[in-house]
């Protein structure tokens, strides 16, 4: 990697101290590690301190220590306890903060988005705060646009086109001239081992044991030299027994090894270039991405493959085409249809090809797997675009859905709006039905544009009224009511047209974080938020026009491109 070399000590180039606050789970810490790895490659002059919770940081400390210059580990469980009582616990918290604040940070960046992280962030001494924190009036504040975007989009829907690592990098402000994403494979072409992780944090996210038993049987039957190692925590013992202790696997027991309760550092050390990793969306896949191990992720339930795909290239993701996928943790579901929509035959074929050649060939796949089994599943491969973002490409070159097309639109829109980075996407490959559906979206986008323009108009009227010698308060109130009406109409528009939700959601978060402390500056920043929304709508309309999908008189939708 060609890192910039700094060889003078002027104030501009003096080492800058940055604190990264990541007090959520291990998977988030691993994604943060990737983002900071990118930061250190492109900006070696920064000293970066991680602030993380003990229970999540300690299992991956071996990795954290390779990437961060310093780590502050917080043990909330020990600090807030009955034995010390309220006063003692409060004193412990103050000591934690005192320890963190021994350094003076140029910037503190909160990548956690929880209430506790926002409070913690507000107490860190730093010149600049990025990400959420609480201000003196106890209001949650998010100043920077990428954090506002993350808060608005990732928490709500699956139209986010960015991997979380790239989002974190954007929040941190990494200028990605260099990336550690590489085409080189750590895994050998012909492998001897599979590391299988058939468990996940939520029942929605993992297959039942009998399906895994079937997969294991087929793989061991077809590949005589393979050993399957099943990883999990100590608490996964029952799950392991249910998968392995079945009659169909009786004669293969010697080739199935448990790796339950191993530390992550041991697992990381054990997995070498003879391994293929297969599992559900979990931090193990993310961990192994640091070694560029070949992986297959089976994404189910609440998993959004684009966001949480292990951050390395040429890995594979199987996700269902089920209409309700992905869902939310509290979405009721009795049948887990998405689980059945990924047939084990598809996984078996992907495994077979990767065991031998490190890649999935479309032609071979189409020959060996029935179209009946492929109807309901997407097979994606991780790639990287010209600006260093991880993307997913469809292995079988299937048609893109409406949501896929809009994600591509949003990748271009947000990258330019927030970072002035030009992202180009190839023309979408869509069916006639999708083209027809997209052409109906054109009218929605026009409505969105018009409403955003009304928002701008009334913001401008307020500013004009304020600038008069004798501004009329009643007029200002009326214009404010009009703006409220615009916002209500935007909500109604989103109810009927979910594809434009990211723009409206972003607008809501941005408007609740307007900069300024008087009516003029607040109204000005409100104007600019509507301007951003108007621009986004306008860009989408232009894209649809270029695809010949905005002609309302058109009888036949445009054929696939």
């Amino acid at each position: 990697m060609n890192a910039k070399v700094i060889d003078d000590h002027s104030p501009e180039t003096a080492n800058k101290e940055i604190a990264i606050l990541q007090i959520t789970r291990i998977g988030d810490i691993l994604q943060t590690c990737h983002a900071v790895r990118l930061l250190k490659i492109n900006h070696p002059e920064y000293n970066v301190t991680l602030i993380a919770r003990k229970q999540f940081a300690e299992p991956v400390k071996f990795l954290i220590d390779q990437i961060f210059d310093d780590v502050k580990i917080i043990d909330f469980k020990r600090s807030i306890n009955l034995a010390d009582g309220f006063s003692g616990s409060l004193k412990n918290i103050k000591n934690i903060l005192k320890d963190i604040n021994t350094k003076k940070f140029s910037a503190s960046i909160n990548l956690s988005f929880s209430k506790s992280s926002s409070y913690l962030h507000s107490m860190i001494n730093s010149d600049h705060k990025i990400g959420p924190y609480y201000n003196e009036a106890n209001h949650k504040v998010i100043h920077d646009k990428w954090s506002q975007y993350l808060f608005s989009s990732v928490m709500r829907g699956d139209l986010n086109p960015f991997n979380l690592v790239d989002l974190f990098s954007n929040i941190i402000g990494v200028k990605k001239d260099n990336t550690h994403l590489t085409n080189s494979n750590f895994s050998k072409e012909k492998k001897e081992n599979i590391l299988l992780h058939p468990f996940a944090s939520l029942e929605k996210k993992y297959w039942k044991s009998n399906k895994w038993s079937e997969v294991i049987l087929r793989v061991l039957e077809a590949n005589k030299d393979i050993t399957i190692h099943i990883a999990g925590s100590s608490s996964d013992k029952d799950g392991y027994e249910q998968i392995v202790n079945v009659p169909i696997l009786e004669k293969y027991r010697s080739r199935i090894k448990p790796l339950l309760g191993k530390s992550l550092s041991e697992l990381y050390a054990q997995v070498d270039n003879t391994y293929l990793f297969v599992g559900h969306d979990s931090m193990i896949g993310n961990l192994l991405s640091f070694k560029n191990i070949k992986t297959i992720t089976i994404s189910l339930g609440t998993v959004r493959p684009m966001e949480t795909a292990p951050y390395s290239i040429n890995n594979y993701i199987l996700s269902p085409k089920t209409k309700c996928y992905p869902c939310f943790p509290d979405t009721p579901c009795e049948f887990y249809k998405c689980h059945g929509d990924i047939p084990y035959q598809v996984l078996q074929e992907v495994i077979s090809q990767l065991l031998i050649s490190n890649k999935v060939e479309k032609e071979q796949f189409l020959k060996r797997v029935s179209p009946f089994h492929m109807n309901s599943v997407n097979i994606s491969k991780t790639t990287v675009n010209k600006v260093g973002h991880l993307t997913l490409s469809n292995v079988l070159d299937e048609y893109q859905t409406e949501r896929d097309v809009f994600r591509d639109f949003y990748r271009t829109i947000w990258s330019y709006a927030f970072s002035e980075v030009d992202v180009t996407s190839p023309l979408p490959n869509i069916s006639e039905a999708t083209a027809s559906s997209l052409s109906k979206q054109a009218q929605t986008v026009v409505h969105l544009f018009e409403l955003a323009e009304f928002g701008k108009k009334y913001s401008r009227y307020i500013l004009e009224e304020i600038s008069k010698k004798a501004p009329e308060i009643n007029k200002i109130k009326d214009y404010s009511k009009k703006i409220d009406e615009v916002d209500r109409l935007l909500d109604v528009l989103v109810e009927a047209n979910e594809l434009i939700a990211p723009i409206v959601d972003y607008g809501v978060v941005a408007k609740s974080n307007l900069s300024g402390n008087n009516l003029v500056s607040l109204t000005e920043s409100s104007f600019y938020v509507y301007q951003e929304m108007s621009n986004a709508a306008s860009i989408i309309h232009e894209f649809l026009t270029k695809l010949n999908l905005t002609n309302t008189n058109q009888q036949t939708p445009r054929k696939s491109l």
Partner: protein, 51 residues
Amino acid sequence: MAQSQEAYKEEFKKELFDKLTAINNKLNRNETLTEEDNAILLMSSVLEEQG
């Protein structure tokens, strides 16, 4: 033993509740929160997340 644990817990909760009420009153009066107030809010949010 269990009874004294329960008593400690109740005392902890009461102290926390009283402090949070005082903080809330400060905010209603548009007063600025101190470092200690923020530390208490942090503690409360951590306990809330832990359930």
